[in-house]
Amino acid sequence: MSEQAEVEPRSPTDSLRRLSAFGRRFFLAGGILPLVLVIAIVGFALAEPRFLTYGNLFNVARAASFLVIVSIGQMITLLVRGIDMSIGSTEALVSVCVALVMATVLGFDPDAPWLAIAAGIAAGLAVGAVVGAVNGIGIAVFNVNPFIMTVGMLSILSGVALTVSGGMPMYGMPKQFGEIFAYAAPLGIPAPVLFAAGVFVIMFYILNWTALGRRIYALGGNIVASRLAGISTRLHMVLAYVMCSTIVAFGGILLTARVGTGEATLASTHVLESITAVVIAGVSFFGGIGRVGNVVLGAFFVTLVTNGMNLLRVPSYQQLIVLGCLLILAVVIDQVRIRMMQQVRDE
């Protein structure tokens, strides 16, 4: 019996066990994202042939790039064991401010569209940085729970955006803004995709190859240990939120260029979608764990699901149900993964 086992080391159960061990390691390293991404692509392609056309993929890629950008921002707050519920209203306020500044500059000098664009973008990014600083200071200095702090800010920012805009779309931006930042497609690649790629490269570098990035992970992994190691935890916490909101603001600027007006109700679905994208990408709610590359895939996945449902004519009300289920499922899977990691340690 034992001889036979030596001759045939690969019994069916053995290779099955090996496969499941491999699957488990794969799951621990990257979550279920690769699997669900493949299932979604194959499923939608089978159900709707238009799904895999160049035209549709172009659309998906462009639509996904906004969510990719804000999800990378959201990821940073999860890495420091926080959350940003205010990203949608940050985008809305940025949109209103960008439109206001651009229209004002153009009002002074109608022949200076580039000055208007530069001033508008600078104002938008500045609004983002200030929002992030307020969130970060509330959380790091005054110890407000991140969820409460950013829900409060959600209401405040949205109120400010509605007040400034009077609830109406704001017109008067130079047409070059949309042409360059939304509709240009050098080499057939939509501009938002290129900008999203740029944000990804910069954040990949910062998170993986700088001390700042390491410390952001450390903060979420163990804030007490970080403090004992001499890291200025408050400063880094504030920095994390400033980075998040500035990236989100950039996303809001691109979205404003695409829509063509300043909108106080822009991107209201981004909070839910970004959290879903980030958690399904294996970024842990418990802080310190997550890869920016997976977040890009996660945001792509969420956009893909929305796009696929649109093609299949799923009514938008029911799409909300699906997105909510996805979010909860992603969090459940995160919990299972954390528990499995602890089991690995116990073994």
Binding site: Y217, G221, A225, A229, R345
Partner: protein
């Protein structure tokens, strides 16, 4: 095994490394320390024992910079030292191993060793870039020097055993120029075998000239590893006795009755 010429329990020189004199610390109306003087010598392992509430933790916090004393002076290597925070203590060569180790669970070994002290270089003179390979190599070197063996360095320390994590935490402390390591209950959460390994590590480091101040409840460990035992009771120093020549009963009696 590296050749070890020194005896396992080296006779400590009598030069003072850290001298705290007349340390008083009160929290509200409660005097946690009532004028405690303690002297850790170069190359010695001193155990700090006492009942709950004797003031051990407060004393350790003051020496490691986590608390500032109300009264009293601290001299390090003969020079008056103002220890206001853990950073000051570290600059003076005093490192503290806390009970919860201060490790980031989801980080691997080099990431933990270099936490807060990451090595960077500047790419093209501008962009800061982490020197990952160098940090890994220096971690390996450090572990080799300390004779610490870990099965792997590139996995999160959460996957390691208690003793291995302890070893990582200790090696982390030794990255700088450290003369004294303060440990708060280092073996509390470890099994017998793991605890023994940490004791071995402590005596190995002691032979290399590092002093220890160890808070412990475990009399067996105290008796087996320390050169001298300092006993606290109700915020006062009962006395300091050489471990050789003292029995467990002697020390237990000091802890309980507050007399030598």
């Amino acid at each position: 095994m590296s050749p070890v010429l020194a005896p396992s329990r080296p006779a400590s020189t009598h030069t003072s490394l850290l001298r705290a004199a007349g340390i008083v610390k009160a929290f509200g109306g409660n005097r946690a320390l009532n004028g405690v003087s303690i002297d850790v010598r170069e190359n010695e392992i001193m155990a700090l024992v006492g009942d709950n509430g004797a003031g051990k933790s407060t004393l350790v916090k003051i020496l490691s910079g986590a608390e500032v004393p109300d009264e009293g002076t601290i001299h390090v290597s003969g020079r008056l030292a103002a220890i206001q925070n853990p950073h000051d203590a570290h600059d003076l060569g005093i490192a503290t191993l806390h009970q919860h180790l201060g490790l980031v669970d989801c980080f691997d070994v080099p990431q933990n060793v270099f936490l807060g002290r990451e090595l960077s270089t500047r790419l093209l003179g501008v962009l800061p870039v982490l020197r990952r390979t160098e940090m890994l190599e220096r971690t390996k070197e450090l572990l080799r020097e300390l004779d610490i063996r870990l099965p792997y360095l590139d996995r999160p320390v959460s996957t390691m055993s208690g003793g291995q994590r302890q070893a990582v935490a200790i090696s982390r402390l030794l990255l700088g120029d450290i003369k004294l390591i303060i440990m708060d209950e280092p073996m509390a959460a470890l099994g017998v075998h793991e605890g023994q390994k940490v004791l071995d590590l402590i005596s190995r480091l002691s032979r290399r000239g590092i002093s220890f101040l160890i808070v412990s409840h475990n009399m067996e460990h105290v008796m087996s590893i320390s050169n001298r035992v300092a006993v606290l009771k109700n915020g006062n120093l009962v006395g300091v006795v050489p471990t050789e020549g003292a029995t467990r009963q002697d020390i237990t009696s000091m802890i309980i009755h507050g007399r030598v």
